[in-house]
C-alpha cells in the first residue's frame, strides 16, 4: 500500500522532470521527433484515450476498424486505418500534439497545447476555468495514443 503511493510519487516526480511542456515542443514540418516523456507509450492506454469522450474522443471524428466495439464512430476526419503506413512516428506525434502544424487550419483540435484560446471553458461546463488550463491530453497520453496509432497497419 505505502509502497504504491511512494512509487506513484516517484513516477510523477520522474515524469515531471523529463516531460516536455506544451510550449517547449519543437515541430519540424509538423513532426515532433523527440518523445514528450522519454517513457515508451502504452498502446492499450492509447486506445482508451482515443475512445473516451472526456479524453481524446478521436472516434468522434475518425473511424478505426480495429475498435469494432466502440459505437458511433464519426467521419469528420479520415479513417485512421493504416495510419502507421502513411506516417512516421514523429509525424504522428506532431499530428496528435497539434494537428494544425501539419494541416493548416485543420478542424482537428490541438491536444497538447495550452493556448491561446478564444473564450476557453472548464471542460464541457460552459463556464470559465478557475485557473490555467492544462492541455487536453497529458504528455504520456500523447505518447500512448501515438503508440496505438503505430499499430494501425492495413
Amino acid at each position: 500500500m505505502k509502497r504504491h503511493i511512494l512509487l506513484g510519487l516517484l513516477l510523477s516526480a520522474v515524469t515531471a522532470t523529463a516531460e516536455t511542456a506544451p510550449a517547449a515542443v519543437t515541430f519540424e514540418e509538423g513532426a515532433v521527433a523527440q518523445s514528450l516523456t522519454g517513457v515508451a507509450g502504452d498502446p492499450a492506454e492509447g486506445a482508451k484515450v482515443m475512445s473516451n469522450r472526456a479524453l481524446g474522443n478521436c472516434v468522434a471524428c475518425h473511424t478505426v476498424s480495429a475498435m469494432p466495439d466502440v459505437a458511433f464512430q464519426g467521419n469528420v476526419g479520415p479513417s485512421l486505418d493504416g495510419a502507421a503506413e502513411r506516417w512516421e512516428e514523429a509525424q504522428l506525434r506532431g499530428i496528435v500534439s497539434d494537428a494544425k502544424m501539419t494541416f493548416d487550419g485543420s478542424v482537428m483540435p490541438s491536444f497538447y497545447k495550452t493556448g491561446p484560446y478564444i473564450r476557453p471553458g472548464d471542460a464541457f461546463t460552459g463556464k470559465a476555468p478557475e485557473g490555467e488550463l492544462p492541455p487536453m491530453l497529458t504528455a504520456q497520453q500523447i505518447e500512448d495514443v501515438v503508440a496505438y496509432l503505430l499499430t494501425l497497419k492495413e
Partner: protein, 285 residues
C-alpha cells in the same frame, strides 16, 4: 510543408470507407404538415451574401425517419402541446392592465408572418429585437405583467405558438439597414473558433454538414425550425439555448441566452435560412 491538398484526399477516403457509420448526407424527402402546409426544407441556391453555402437544408433532413414523420401531423408533434399551452396564456389576462394577448391581437393567426422576420430592428427601441423580446415588451409595457425568462416554459411555448401560424411562409430576415452591424457581428462569431477545441459554427455546420460527429448527424444548424422539440430533453428549446449548448461543446465559456452576442448571432444565422420555410415547432433528437 503544410499539407492542404491532403484534406481533400482524406475526405474522399472517408467517403469510400463504408464502415461503422456510413456517410449519410441529407435525406431526400419532402415535408407537408397536416396534408396541407408545404414546407420548403431545401433550396438549391443559398442567398448570395452567405459565402459558404450553395444549398440550404433544414435540420429536418438530417433526422431519422420516425423523427421526421412526427412533424407531418400536428397530432404526432409533441411540440404542439406547447402551442396548446400557449393558447391558454394567449387568452388569459395577466398583469396590472388586466389584458391578455387576445385583448390587443385577437386570434393568434393575426401573428402570421411575424416569425419570418425575426430578429427585427425595432425603430422605437432603437435595437435588434428577437421574438422573445417583442413578447416581453408586450407583457411589461402593455399588460403591466412580469417579463418571462428567456427559457421559461411559458416563453418558449409562446414562441412556438407564434411560429406555428407562420409555418410554410419563407424566412425573410433583414440583413441590411439598421440590422447590418448586428449581422456583421453575428457573422464574425459564426466563423470564430471558440474554446479549447477551437471549433467555429462553420467548422461543424458549413464544412461538415452531412457528416457524423460521434453519433450526431451534423445539419446546417439552421434556426427555421425553432423552437424545436428535442426528444432527448422531452421539451421545447429556444434558439439561444441551442447556441449555448453548441458553444459549450467546444469546451468554451459560453454566452447567455438573451445576451447581445446571441442576439447578433441569431440575426446572422436566421439570415442563412432566408428562403427556407418557417417550420417551428419542429422535432429533433
Amino acid at each position: 510543408m503544410k499539407i492542404k491538398t491532403l484534406a481533400g484526399t482524406c475526405a474522399a477516403a472517408a467517403l469510400a470507407f463504408a464502415g461503422l457509420s456510413a456517410w449519410a448526407g441529407p435525406v431526400d424527402d419532402t415535408l407537408v404538415i397536416n396534408e396541407e402546409i408545404e414546407i420548403v426544407t431545401h433550396t438549391t441556391s443559398a442567398p448570395d451574401y452567405i459565402d459558404g453555402l450553395s444549398e440550404q437544408y433544414s435540420g429536418w433532413h438530417f433526422r431519422e425517419d420516425d423523427t421526421r414523420d412526427m412533424q407531418r401531423d400536428d397530432f404526432d408533434n409533441p411540440g404542439m402541446l406547447g402551442v396548446e399551452a400557449a393558447m391558454e396564456d394567449w387568452n388569459t389576462e395577466d398583469g396590472a392592465e388586466g389584458k391578455s394577448c387576445a385583448s390587443c391581437h385577437e386570434a393568434p393567426e393575426s401573428m402570421a408572418g411575424v416569425r419570418t422576420q425575426m430578429p427585427k430592428f425595432s425603430e422605437t427601441k432603437g435595437t435588434m429585437m428577437t421574438l422573445e423580446m417583442y413578447i416581453n415588451e408586450c407583457r411589461t409595457e402593455r399588460m403591466g405583467a412580469e417579463a418571462w425568462g428567456w427559457d421559461d416554459a411559458a416563453m418558449v411555448n409562446m414562441t412556438a405558438l407564434i411560429s406555428s401560424v407562420s409555418r410554410g411562409m419563407p424566412v425573410n430576415v433583414a440583413v441590411d439597414g439598421p440590422a447590418a452591424p448586428f449581422w456583421e457581428l453575428g457573422k464574425e462569431m459564426y466563423y470564430t473558433r471558440y474554446g479549447q477545441l477551437e471549433l467555429s459554427c462553420a467548422n461543424c455546420h458549413e464544412q461538415n454538414y452531412g457528416n457524423f460527429i460521434r453519433a450526431d448527424h451534423l445539419s446546417q444548424g439552421q434556426v427555421n425550425g425553432f423552437p424545436v422539440y428535442r426528444l432527448k430533453d422531452a421539451k421545447l428549446s429556444s434558439i439561444h439555448n441551442r447556441f449555448k449548448g453548441c458553444i459549450r461543446d467546444t469546451r468554451a465559456e459560453t454566452f447567455k441566452p438573451g445576451s447581445p452576442e446571441f442576439i447578433a448571432l441569431e440575426t446572422y444565422v436566421a439570415s442563412r435560412g432566408n428562403g427556407l420555410s418557417v417550420e417551428g415547432p419542429s422535432v429533433r433528437n
